[in-house]
């Protein structure tokens, strides 16, 4: 029924907004509940006798037909006893079972933080270090880890993703972004003969993450799923030594007064505090290794800016690390002896962001003490530009950069 919808009720409750808009055409909202000619007639007003307190109105309800002189009965709203799944009415927020008085600020996969990385660092009590850690760079520079014909194969991968993989002349970002990431991962996996530990990993899509933590009297939560997660059988070794971790005690977190740290987070009162790594107990690959974030929207305004993407990577990596730490070491807030390390890669098909997060402490309520560490390598271009249409009769990859591939 058209009038059963909420917009209809809202229109009826505010009679001042009725009436045609300019130019004699109905208002846009009119099409929601129907034009005036098809609207159900309003119920007649109640009898005056109901407004007199203390009087018991005598109605014709028992007689089952209208009787002049008796009051019109008013019946309670009919409860059918069962709910059709299409027309379910949720109870009001205050009556829902998970309602809590304290508001929780939830970060989900479409949250674009205003202050970007600074805000993410404050929320996760982390210290930023530009550039990837030396251990990772050492692995990259090691010639034993290089793949044969690396340049030629990466060029093939880029051409395949940007040009060859679909029948259209210019493939769209929604298709080429996942293709390029999958192909690069496939290229890495081809080294499985040299590094048998690569076989102990498995990829999972559509996992659901949920973690909650307190941060200076604010309750924060990371919830939802975004992208793929590579799980491993063995945890990543900690990168920063204990001295470096102790040294972060002196670091002061950057605040951005007057902007509140919870800006752009979704505030809700109905939430669940339970932690959820996304997998059940007994999963043979329990440790998160790398997260992949793809910005695949075709239109630029729908895609995240690099700063917002880095913030999202920090927060999701932190959420995964925190859930893992609570699973391993319990829910008490303490400084971890074995820090949990999670990596993350974010891209929009051309520009890559790399991130390594080391969770040193689960004591996040105060601003003092040991901080977590985040290494970020931002804005690595895989290639400068890609001409799909023939320019001077050849299809060319202009100036591609080997560094982000490593």
């Amino acid at each position: 029924m058209a009038l059963a919808s909420a917009p209809a009720r809202r229109a009826l409750a505010r009679p001042g907004r009725l009436g045609l808009g300019g130019c004699g055409a109905p208002r846009r909202g009119a099409y929601e509940w129907g034009v005036r000619s098809t609207r159900k007639p309003e119920p007649p007003p109640r009898d005056r006798v109901y407004e007199i307190p203390g009087l018991e109105p005598i109605t014709y309800a028992g007689k089952m037909h209208f009787m002049p002189g008796l009051a019109r009965p008013v019946f309670p709203p009919w409860d059918p006893g069962w709910t059709h799944p299409k027309f379910r009415r949720l109870p009001p927020i205050h009556e829902q079972p998970l309602y809590k008085d304290q508001a929780c600020y939830v970060f989900h996969q479409r949250c674009r933080l205003l202050e970007g990385v600074k805000q993410a660092l404050w929320l996760t009590k982390a210290k930023l270090i530009e550039g990837l850690p030396k251990k990772v760079l050492g692995l990259v520079e090691d010639p034993r880890n290089h793949i044969e014909n690396q340049d030629e194969r990466v060029l093939n991968v880029i051409s395949h993703a940007r040009l060859w993989h679909s029948t259209e002349d210019i493939p769209k970002r929604e298709t080429y972004c996942p293709v390029i990431v999958d192909s690069l991962i496939q290229l890495c996996k081809s080294q499985i003969l040299k590094h048998p530990s690569l076989a102990k990993r498995i990829c999972a899509q559509n996992y659901r993450l949920s973690t909650t933590w307190n941060r200076e009297s604010l309750l924060l939560q990371v919830r939802g799923s975004s992208g793929a997660r590579l799980n491993a059988k063995d945890p990543l070794p900690p990168i920063a030594s204990r001295e470096e971790v102790e040294a972060t005690k002196n670091h002061v977190l950057e605040t951005f007064y007057p902007i509140s740290p919870t800006i752009d987070l979704q505030e809700c009162n109905v939430y669940d505090v339970e932690d959820d790594t996304g997998f059940r107990e007994g999963y043979p690959y329990p440790y998160p290794h790398t997260l992949y974030f793809l910005e695949t929207a075709n239109l630029r305004p729908h895609r995240f800016q690099p700063d917002q993407l880095r913030a999202k990577m920090i927060l999701f990596a932190f959420g995964n690390a925190l859930a893992q730490a609570r699973l391993l070491y319990g829910n008490d807030t303490k400084v971890l002896e074995q820090p949990v390390v999670v990596q993350s890669v974010g891209t929009d098909g051309r520009v890559f962001q790399f991130l390594v997060l080391q969770l040193n402490t689960t004591d996040l309520a105060s601003n003092e003490g040991v901080k977590n560490l985040v290494w970020v390598d931002s804005d690595q271009l895989l290639y400068q530009h890609f001409w799909c249409l023939p320019v001077v009769k050849k299809k060319v990859v202009v100036d591609w950069f080997p560094s982000p591939w490593r």
Binding site: Q186, R280, P284, Y285
Partner: protein, 397 residues
């Protein structure tokens, strides 16, 4: 008249009439010398059928001219363009179909012989390292358990898509894991390209019909077919797989011949773009296929077929999918190498396929021996395409 005007223009150009040019050509070799064997030079231009007349000879000449254009095309892209540029109504063949006995029909459309059981593996020159079955089984179990049990997904799967939402990521993980583990035995696998849900298209002509109605009623017209397939995963290599049997291997089994039009299958005609695509364009160095993995949607669940009293159609669904998809893939690979119905393949194109519905797997091997399926090219063509396949057996209990 236009013809007369045309005739007058010709002699005016170079200043000589056609007759004098021919006479000069005749006298030229006599003047060169008796040492050169006088090649029989035509005294008159060749007498050929007209080009634009409304006659069968003219049509034949136009067809031959078009075929000569394809033969003379320099690049494969140009050849494919000339072969597919004219759009007419064509049958759209769906590899995953509910039609009864679709595999017999598809064998007829693609000139394929179906042999049960897999072909004998070629004799290996060097002894391969022992297959680590335990590790493979463990990897497969991990993929299964992750998708079916351990991964907590958001919300319920959409209606009638439960098997696909679990089966599709499971197949992705399984293929990736097996490729990694088996690259020790087959180093080419480590360098292969893996595609996820990339389209595969193929367009071909086979057989003829008399047009029943319309302004071309009563005339003979070729039957055109198009397959638009989307395998869940496929592995492409840069080197071709070795053949299973020689190119002219003759199989004594006859290809089923159906006595009615393909419309009875049911198969419907549509006119849209003719595409030939293996999963990536012609410029890709990985242009040979290795294996395709197909996932059957919920429509072809065993329980559903059994409820419809179609227990014998369970295997038919697997076989029809394999024959159609693998024929399309190998045919497209062959066309990417420049072969077509008038320029038949000189080496067989081989690919493999795995068809599954999530729980039951079947394995198929396909060898494309001939692309000459049009009536004109098929007159003296003894070659047949061969498809080997297994029954579907359960993967886990």
């Amino acid at each position: 008249m236009a013809a007369a005007r045309y005739w007058r223009l010709v002699p005016r150009g170079p200043g000589l009439s056609l007759h004098t040019a021919a006479a000069a050509a005749v006298t030229a070799p006599e003047m060169i010398g008796p040492a050169v064997a006088a090649a029989p030079v035509a005294r008159y231009p060749p007498i050929v059928a007209s080009l634009k007349a409304k006659s069968k000879a003219a049509r034949q000449r136009r067809v031959e001219r078009w075929q000569a254009m394809v033969h003379a095309a320099e690049s494969v892209d140009e050849k494919l363009r000339i072969l597919t540029k004219m759009q007419f109504m064509k049958y759209v063949v769906y590899p995953q179909t509910f039609a009864l006995n679709a595999d017999r029909w598809y064998q007829g459309f693609t000139k394929t012989v179906f042999l049960s059981g897999l072909p004998k593996p070629p004799a290996e020159p060097a002894p391969a390292p022992a297959l680590d079955l335990a590790a493979l089984r463990a990897a497969a179990c991990d993929c299964l358990l992750q998708e079916h049990f351990f991964l907590r997904r958001k919300g319920r799967p959409p209606l009638y898509r439960e098997y696909e939402t679990i089966g599709s990521p499971f197949l992705d993980q399984l293929v990736a894991a097996l490729m990694g583990l088996l690259s020790a035995h087959n180093p080419a696998l480590a360098a292969a390209a893996l595609d996820c849900k990339r389209p595969v298209h193929f367009y071909w002509l086979r057989g003829e019909e008399i047009i029943p109605c319309g302004h071309r009623k009563g005339r003979v017209d070729a039957l055109r077919y198009q397959i638009n397939d989307k395998p869940n995963n496929q592995i492409r290599m840069s080197k071709q797989l070795p053949e299973f049997v020689p190119l002219d291997y003759s199989v004594p089994i006859e290809i089923p011949v159906m006595n009615c039009k393909p419309d009875k299958l049911p198969l419907f005609k549509r006119q849209y773009e003719n595409t030939i695509f293996i999963g990536s364009k012609t410029a890709d160095p990985y242009c040979y296929g290795h294996t395709q993995f197909h996932l059957l949607p919920d429509k072809f669940k065993r329980e559903r077929l059994l409820k419809k009293n179609c227990a014998d159609q369970i295997e038919v669904v697997f076989r029809a999918n394999a024959i159609a998809s693998l024929f399309a893939w190998t045919g497209a690979q062959a066309m990417y190498q420049g072969f077509w119905s008038e320029a038949d393949v000189t080496r067989p194109f081989v690919s493999q396929g795995v068809v599954t519905d999530g729980k039951y797997f079947s394995f198929f091997c396909y060898q494309l021996n001939t692309l000459a399926l049009t009536t004109q090219a098929d007159q003296n063509n003894p070659r047949k395409n061969i498809c080997w396949g297994t029954q579907s057996f359960v993967f886990y209990l």
